[in-house]
Subunit: 215 residues, 2 copies
């Protein structure tokens, strides 16, 4: 399998963790979001993925984008170790945490959105950083509430094994740190992030450990 | 089951279509996003759903948010009629279309984001409408490319039966029309939207047909 990835993309980061946890070998194809006016916007990449977003997973001559769709695909085709818990309600809880991060935190702070704020709305750096921290702060505070004190929260977001929820949480926390967001009121989020990062599968998926990493 | 819903919420609209297609009876609990300073922000609603977003599906004393998590839950607990196709790759394609709309079009145009643009970034109505049309236009153009000419596109986004992809497409098209977005370059999107709206399950889920509708 090939993963079209950018080291800093948190959506690609989620998939890298899943591939590592499942022990699946893959080749990284670097798509630099800033070079050449954005390599994801090239005709070649758009043929593979018309949305011009990373990541894309290619399996032979077949390819699919969107991190959550890729994770569900990997879960169906390589079910062990499971990254979704047993039971429809437990799976719904895990997917809801993951989806909230995927839909309602991350896309607001995507590179293309920050570019629009800068170039079209002429928001200065201070306003853009405030925007970023607003959505991350509000979003991760809600995640903290979903996790803290919930009977199913364990060492990880759900129980004693990593699930999709952790795969979305850890890259989002990494982004938050990069933008100096205040995470002091989110002890459960921080505890789970630390537990995940004790696992090599998470650490090896981090932006700093990618072949296209710039540090 | 109870669906905490706002008639204009396109995320709630997706779930309403699924419940109708699967023939599941449910009670609508209206959560007015504009009244009382936003009923979704009340302590009561936040206890049910800490993200303060609609929809929430309640099944007895259990509840879950996030439309995609709810749809996967309904698919697992009420598998007929199936809203995901057979085959892992086909399901990945359907989920990728749905996720792209869920993550990369819709959240950028959410009410809370438009409010931030207005009140914090002081973007005027023209700038806010341009923002809305930018993301919808770019997003649905990518959806058009994913659908047009793809061998698996049929009467609906994938084959001859509605799938998750259609449940995300139709509410997004309705939003686009509400904001006078130009859809003339998206004939496949429009054809599939029309096919879906021939089904009562889609029509009955539309904003204008909800108990809390304001027209």
């Amino acid at each position: 399998m090939k993963l079209y990835s950018y080291f800093r993309s948190s959506a690609a980061y989620r998939v890298r963790i899943a591939l590592n946890l499942k022990g699946l070998a893959y080749e990284t194809v670097a798509v630099h979001l800033l070079k050449d006016g954005g390599q994801q916007l090239s005709d070649g990449y758009r043929q593979l993925n018309p949305t011009a977003l990373v990541p894309t997973l290619a399996d032979g001559d077949w390819a699919v984008g969107q991190s959550m769709a890729i994770l569900e695909y990997l879960e169906e085709t390589h079910p062990e170790p499971a990254l979704l818990p047993a039971g429809a309600r437990a799976r719904a809880r895990v997917r809801a945490i993951a989806q909230f991060i995927a839909c309602d935190i991350h896309p607001l702070n995507n590179l293309r959105v920050l570019k629009y704020l800068k170039h079209t709305l002429e928001a200065d750096e201070e306003a853009r950083n405030a925007w970023y921290r607003h959505w991350v702060g509000q979003g991760l505070a809600a995640v903290e509430t979903m996790l803290a004190g919930h009977p199913d929260t364990g060492r990880y977001c759900h129980g004693a094994q990593p699930t999709f929820a952790d795969l979305f949480l850890v890259p989002q926390v990494a982004n938050a740190r990069r933008y100096d967001c205040d995470l002091s009121a989110m002890p459960t989020v921080l505890r789970i992030d630390a537990a995940c990062n004790e696992l090599a599968a998470f650490r090896q998926a981090a932006p700093g450990n990618q072949p296209d990493s710039e540090g």
